[in-house]
């Protein structure tokens, strides 16, 4: 399967199964488009110079012969897409089912996930660490995300967890990586220092322009949060080791379809690591993204890509595609890992497939206090991949997104195997932009021009 597209003035062919990417001149691009899946004979391009067309076709056949075009998927067994007895290697630790903001679009029911406002006791968090160490088998790297609600409302638990894991990781033969996701309201000089020393990644929630942020990210008293959080985020970023990850992460909704302006607004603050994501919402929510919004969203992604190519002073999470050194094909077949390699732990110690499923009782997988991890649910999630999701089998982006988000699929279609179409459309557009940006950065764009 070959996906040919033209974005940002670049003609690109992605050889889906091999991972090869080619930049094409107009003639070879026309040939790839006309050929479709049939490379047995040269397509007829009546208006083309026939000598040049034959030359371009010959080059395409050489790529095919070299395993770089129209490559069959005959080198891995689709059965490998289902992990066998996969160890759990990542926890989303819900240290606080409570929040000091009342964001209008919150998928966690303003912080408590519909399960009542609670803080995870430190002993529960330590038991969760013990649990994941037991369940992680031979895996060395273990990821723990402090999440909520607002995790800063549970700083005692956060500190106790880090101290406990760090004190024992060598003896357990593990390496823990911690991520903090915070709305910033309770950030102080003391915990900025703590996060910069102890968190491998910090995710800092901000929606972009002040008027956009303050429309949705409100305090309990209904006031905007921008002026409170931005100075704290900037202090954290300025004092952070440049080798440690962080993201300023926002949400866009139907209310700010011009979200490239929000990304730029964040970049203009001096932030160089940015993620702005489509909202997770039900169709009935007035701010949910609709089919008819897609053309504008596509334009926004292209606009953002053009601005980034000029500025070169920030990165955008969903344009970070490493074509040559990214994850292996096995990983890309398997999907996100939720429910088998990754689970969420509530303040009560209950286990769910991921943070998006917390509170959905039918998905409760057990408890860290018991050894009754529900393998039926785990196996269901382990079986969600690009081969068991029918629509993914024919999608060119399947090895980049790996089947999408099960929770989004369930919310949109009532079926974890049925991809959320609007999400897929946005994903494909982001990938096209990201790949075209790579071509331009590599100086290959002139190939796409008429000569």
């Amino acid at each position: 399967m070959v996906h040919a597209f033209s974005v940002l003035g670049c003609n690109i062919a992605v050889d889906v199964n091999s991972g090869a990417v080619h930049v094409l001149d107009p003639l070879s691009y026309a040939l790839v488009q006309a050929a479709g899946d049939d490379y047995s004979k040269m397509p007829v391009l009546p208006d083309a110079d026939q000598t040049e067309a034959a030359s371009a076709w010959q080059e395409l056949l050489e790529l095919k012969e070299a395993g770089l075009l129209d490559t069959p998927m005959d080198y891995v067994d689709p059965a490998d897409a289902v992990p066998k007895d996969a160890p759990v290697k990542a926890l989303c630790l819900h240290v606080a089912h409570d929040c000091n903001l009342r964001c209008k679009y919150c998928f966690a029911s303003t912080g408590d996930f519909g399960t009542g406002r609670k803080i995870m006791p430190p002993d529960t968090a330590k038991k969760a660490i013990d649990w994941v160490v037991r369940k992680s088998g031979k895996r060395h790297n273990i990821e723990v995300d402090f999440f909520g609600g607002e995790p800063l409302m549970a700083m005692d638990t956060v500190k106790a967890t880090v101290e406990y894991a760090r004190a024992h990781e060598a003896q357990w033969g593990k390496h823990f990586r911690f991520t903090m996701t915070t709305n910033g309201v309770l950030l102080s000089d003391e915990n900025i220092k703590y996060f910069n020393e102890n968190m491998d990644n910090c995710v800092l929630s901000l929606d972009g322009r002040k008027e956009i942020n303050d429309k949705n990210r409100l305090t309990v008293n209904g006031k905007g949060s921008y002026d409170v959080i931005v100075p704290k985020f900037l202090k954290l970023i300025q004092e952070r080791d440049k080798n440690k990850d962080y993201y300023v992460r926002g949400t866009f909704t139907r209310d700010n379809l011009d979200f490239s302006n929000d990304v730029i607004s964040i970049a203009d603050l001096g932030v160089d690591s940015i993620s702005v994501e489509p909202v997770t919402a039900d169709d009935s929510d007035p701010y949910s993204l609709r089919e008819q919004d897609l053309p504008q969203i596509f334009e926004e992604y292209e606009r953002l890509a053009k601005i980034m190519l000029k500025r070169k002073d920030f990165n955008f999470f969903h344009f970070n595609v490493d074509l040559s050194q990214g994850p292996c094909v096995i990983k890309r077949m398997r999907g996100c890992g939720a429910g088998c390699e990754y689970v969420a732990v509530t303040p009560d110690g209950d286990l769910y497939p991921c943070h998006q499923f917390v509170g959905k009782e039918e998905f409760k997988m057990g408890s860290i206090f018991e050894d009754d991890f529900n393998m039926e649910i785990a196996n269901t999630f382990a079986g969600l991949n690009i081969y068991t999701r029918e629509d993914c089998k024919t999608c060119w982006a399947r090895f980049y997104c790996s089947g999408g988000c099960s929770a989004a699929n369930l919310n949109a279609n009532g079926d974890m195997k049925k991809p959320y179409r609007i999400g897929c459309e946005m994903q494909r557009k982001r990938l096209e932009c990201a790949i075209a940006m790579k071509a331009i950065e590599a100086g290959a764009a002139e190939f796409s021009e008429d000569r």
């Binding site: 770089l68 790297n141 190939f447």
Partner: protein, 48 residues
Amino acid sequence: MTHIKTLNGATLKESACKGGCGECQTSCQSACKTSCTVANQKCENKDR
């Protein structure tokens, strides 16, 4: 080649032989938490 410039080789296919170590992140952890992308994750396999 005069009509085509290859930007990236068959890296996906090449990754199969040493793939599947399982040390990498699960996929929506690092920043998004709402939408899955795998291709922007880092490979953690030291032997690759």
